[in-house]
Symmetry: C2
Subunit: 737 residues, 2 copies
Amino acid sequence: MLRHDALSDEASLVAARRPLFRLQDPLPLCAPRARKARLASLPGLHGVVSRMWDAGRPWVAVVLVGVLTGAVASGLDVLSGWLSDLRMGKCTDMWWMSRGLCCAGLEPGEQCRAWRTWGEIAAKEGHVVARALAQYGVYMVTAVLFALTSSAFVNVFAPFAFHTGIPEIKVLLGGYVMRGFLSPMTLLIKSLGLPLAVASGLSLGKEGPLVHVACCICDLVLRPFESLRGNGARHREILSAAAAAGVSVAFGAPLGGVLFSLEEISTFFPGSTLWQSFVCAIVAAVTLQYIDPFNTGKLALFTVTASQVWRGFELVPWLLLGVAGGIWGAWFIRLNEEWERIRRASGLREWPVTEVGALALFTAVVSYLVVFMRVPSSELVVALFQDCSGPDAYGLCECVPRPSLPARPREQGLTLGTQRSSSNTSSIVFLLLLTAFAKTLLTAATFGASIPAGIFLPSLTIGACAGRAVGLVMDALQKAHPQSWVFADCPADGGCINTSVYAVIGAASALGGVTRMTISLVVILFELTGAIDIVIQLMMAVMVAKFTGDYFSKNGIYETWINLRNYPFLNTKLDYRRDTFLARHVMTPVNELACVTDEGWEVSRLEALLDEEDYRGFPVVKTMRTRVILGYIGRAELWEALMIDSRSPQPQTTSATSAKLRPARHAADGRPWVSLAPWMDEIPVCMSQDTPMELVVQMFQRIGLRFVLLTRQGALMGLLTRMVRPAFPMSSVQPPH
Amino acid sequence: MLRHDALSDEASLVAARRPLFRLQDPLPLCAPRARKARLASLPGLHGVVSRMWDAGRPWVAVVLVGVLTGAVASGLDVLSGWLSDLRMGKCTDMWWMSRGLCCAGLEPGEQCRAWRTWGEIAAKEGHVVARALAQYGVYMVTAVLFALTSSAFVNVFAPFAFHTGIPEIKVLLGGYVMRGFLSPMTLLIKSLGLPLAVASGLSLGKEGPLVHVACCICDLVLRPFESLRGNGARHREILSAAAAAGVSVAFGAPLGGVLFSLEEISTFFPGSTLWQSFVCAIVAAVTLQYIDPFNTGKLALFTVTASQVWRGFELVPWLLLGVAGGIWGAWFIRLNEEWERIRRASGLREWPVTEVGALALFTAVVSYLVVFMRVPSSELVVALFQDCSGPDAYGLCECVPRPSLPARPREQGLTLGTQRSSSNTSSIVFLLLLTAFAKTLLTAATFGASIPAGIFLPSLTIGACAGRAVGLVMDALQKAHPQSWVFADCPADGGCINTSVYAVIGAASALGGVTRMTISLVVILFELTGAIDIVIQLMMAVMVAKFTGDYFSKNGIYETWINLRNYPFLNTKLDYRRDTFLARHVMTPVNELACVTDEGWEVSRLEALLDEEDYRGFPVVKTMRTRVILGYIGRAELWEALMIDSRSPQPQTTSATSAKLRPARHAADGRPWVSLAPWMDEIPVCMSQDTPMELVVQMFQRIGLRFVLLTRQGALMGLLTRMVRPAFPMSSVQPPH
């Protein structure tokens, strides 16, 4: 896996000419240092201002990214809301207003006359059936229309705008460059396509895509800051911060955003990144709260009123929910993967827009049948997370028999009462589980289709449905057998099981199973719900779900998609300590490597080397006999050196301290010669070939090295690079320009 | 700083014979790999069970540590409570009961007759003055008695049990070994001394020491698991988990514990550590909740009922609080440091127990004067964090004029009312600020004295006092000028300023300024208070406080103490990217190094080398001419090799693959020869001498390397090790055995 793989023909061509993926420098090397030194030497006020600006630039960029992310997220929220409302009716006075705005300013209880449903508009005095048909028709037509528009946008203008974007961001922050992924066009299309996709009623969320949007904004903001953008490490730091801002506005969870960036996104996370993420996430959250697109004035989207009292026996269903979440997550990933394979194997991928249209139609038809599927997922989650003390929106609480039931003779009353409630319970439990199952299938088909789509909200919904169902079953059991030793801890006046807590734990388990996030997931969930009292339960559920999920499949959904698309990526979360290999067991040995020596290379010979060999880079050694290492030159750099040389045939001077690489016949004989020193990495990291692989992998993971030269007693013995796979399936999502 | 320093004479002696600090292996190297291989080859059921046990052992240890930490923390809570109550009175029926237990089972409103204050006991029918004197006398005597006992315990039995312990744990997890710091005696003394210290009324907290207690428990639990304990990396992982459990039980913040361990404690944090911390923190929190020492059934200690509504102008006082927290933190650190210097310079350190006794007496005398100082800090914080809707324990809400004041003529009534309220406000504000100031001085003298003492609770209290004072001032201002444009956003019916939110933000700022923690501090605070709605404000306050504090002094309180005690430590949080040095600028060049060559060394010559040179290790090269690197041998290892050789004079066989280090005259001439191969590190990491220092530092920080050999074209040019300072001031806290 970690071998210095030769690329396939097609891919190597891409790599040599216009690399689609390119490894960035792990560290700011020569150029930034020279700039720093120049800045430090500037005299007087000009110097002070320049140095302040130099130190302040990242912060200016970070604050700008935060503000813009908050603003764009607010805009997206408003747009999604308006489009979703438009499927049900319109504001007769001002068509561009959402229902909330249209009906604003009314007294409580007053009917909103300005807002009319499509049924009312189409068949003003008509029959109820005509109304219903008009309503249903518009609902279906808009679903397909929105989905088609969104998908067409994506396919025509910005292929990278599809899907969630998080796998690509992980790859990006792993140190690879992906052209076009953060372009302004992608930003525009994703920002337009996302509200359309959400409003179409497809089983998808807007959270993951918002992270992508935030990263696009970051790239746009950084354009005037050439020195930040050109510096790989700095660029990635600010990208991490942008990702944190994305999560921050997606869930109203600034802290969760920082931790998400820390845990899930970033390969290595120095202190300053933490700070920039912190600032960016806060600025974005404050902006969102200031604009307040939902007019609620608070950030917590799904408020849970959890009682902190819980009984020991409840650990059993909670642990079971965790296990179920893990199993479901692994199953969902498999399902999603299989569907992607089918999509590729059948001709389906040739018709991406059609696929999305058909999916939207099917989703609309199926969803209209079940009340829990008809409503937007976010509203359903709100209802599922609410206990039965408040208003009961979808009849979720009707199954709970009121404790004030009049006492009746036992053989009749109680049995009847229990039967009635349990039959109601069973129907709701059935509906909830059906919703979870249907949504699983729909989401597995949607996530990966050619439309912006996140996985977070669907998983949350499915988990909450299942959790609430388990809670209802527990509640019914307790009500049916209040005297059982199991429920001995329950108070006599009922109110033992809080079904909303089960819903939250179910949601946590499902998310843990799918994303395999840990600490950031817990924080996000508890910023999302405000349920501080159940943090232990959430932690347990997420932990059990992750353990169970990892048992069935090692990769979370994002890693799975990284593999599916063959992105180059080194999973930093895997633990290589079980690895008993030494570096020499897996390295590419020196006799299979193409080395450049210091003995004498003419330009034509170097060009021939580039043509013949398709390695991504070449170690530079003194002689092939001693194999003393002078440096390493990447394929792209060698190519660039030769290009520049062919443009300016004057001999270039070499710095006195650098190891030179030049033909043996000197400039004296009149032939042009090339100094490769400026393009050569003169400080490659060398390790003994007997180093355990775990240490090598740590070098890749934690330091961000691209390659390690392996030696024995000072002589080059082999080479290990980060895994770089051929970029084959990327052709399907290659940018069109 | 990072040079391969020769140790001072005294210290090098310690290093060579019985090292007080010793660097652990950064990675499990040969021995664990061999054990793994042996395990993998075991056949049948025995093999399966052995492998399962091998994989499960860390988890068994982690769960055990969690349970024991929770149990011990509960015990400490009960003991502290009983001792604190004992200062005020005793349970007449059963003297071993705390006031809560003694008075349990009473109806609300019923008077507790079993509990009598000392005043009542001493002067049953006596005069009020006699009663007060008796009460006051016992209060003073117990304060001094408890403090003296605690300090004497520490000084006689376990010097390492003093102070918070967190600096030492940071050093430990940075890869150094400190003998005696985690011994069972330290555990016992710290567990006994801590409740005494808390009950003595000194200005200290029990949170930091609990982390130390958890780590001691960890070391005890690991004793039967020799293979875990011997493996440096594994040992540190489980120690990190124990630290998380310590914070988890100290604050009832399992999530905050994990993040504390991640941010503050651990040098590098692989995925499995995160998991073990997660599990350990949860198990500890559940145990604590199950035992429920406070009989409250909940984990959040200081519940805040924060309204989520806030107005733009409030950002100004909040930011000011952040800035003030940063400045205060820097000032406090300076003050604390100065006091430690005075303690050392004067003869005070020779009388540690006396110092603590005097301090306790002084604290008791001063504290009795001000109501806010007389009560235990934790109760004060609870009161400060409460808004004025509940019961008003310490008159904190009396200054707020009731909105139901009858309307009076403007020139009289309002002015009077305002005056009255503002005079009351100003007196409370004065008392709060006085309390903050006095506690600052007392804490600066206490933190570092020879008694277990944490810094968290005092800082929290001081910050909460200051924050509440600012809130009261804002409230008075708003009440006095309700028509001002500044307060235009405030509702007409009053209730604009929530002073409890100001207290929380003040506490966050103070803690941010002192500890310089960021994300873990926010999480701890919001697990501690349950104030999910003010997470943005908390994040801002902590951020501003850290920025401000960093401007004045780079180090937080823990790093300051690491420096004060001259512990060897590489701060992983400092950003070395501004560093324009190359490795060759700071390395110890090869001509100053003592190298061992492969040319021929007799045992006597090696012994002479050990005697003459006081380096901590020696590079092994082929010849001094080529300087081709064969490996590196540490001083301790070389010494060990020679010791074993002198015990068994038989020539030892060397493995065929290892580089051998042997005298030129072979065993053939009958003289004994030594193979150093088993003791030599054959896989040292080599880097070019032109490597930027930032990369080298990253190697130390993120990979945990101890040293790097620097080369040019394959030849050894120099050496860089982690900073190891002479252990001079440690002599004062050296274990007595």
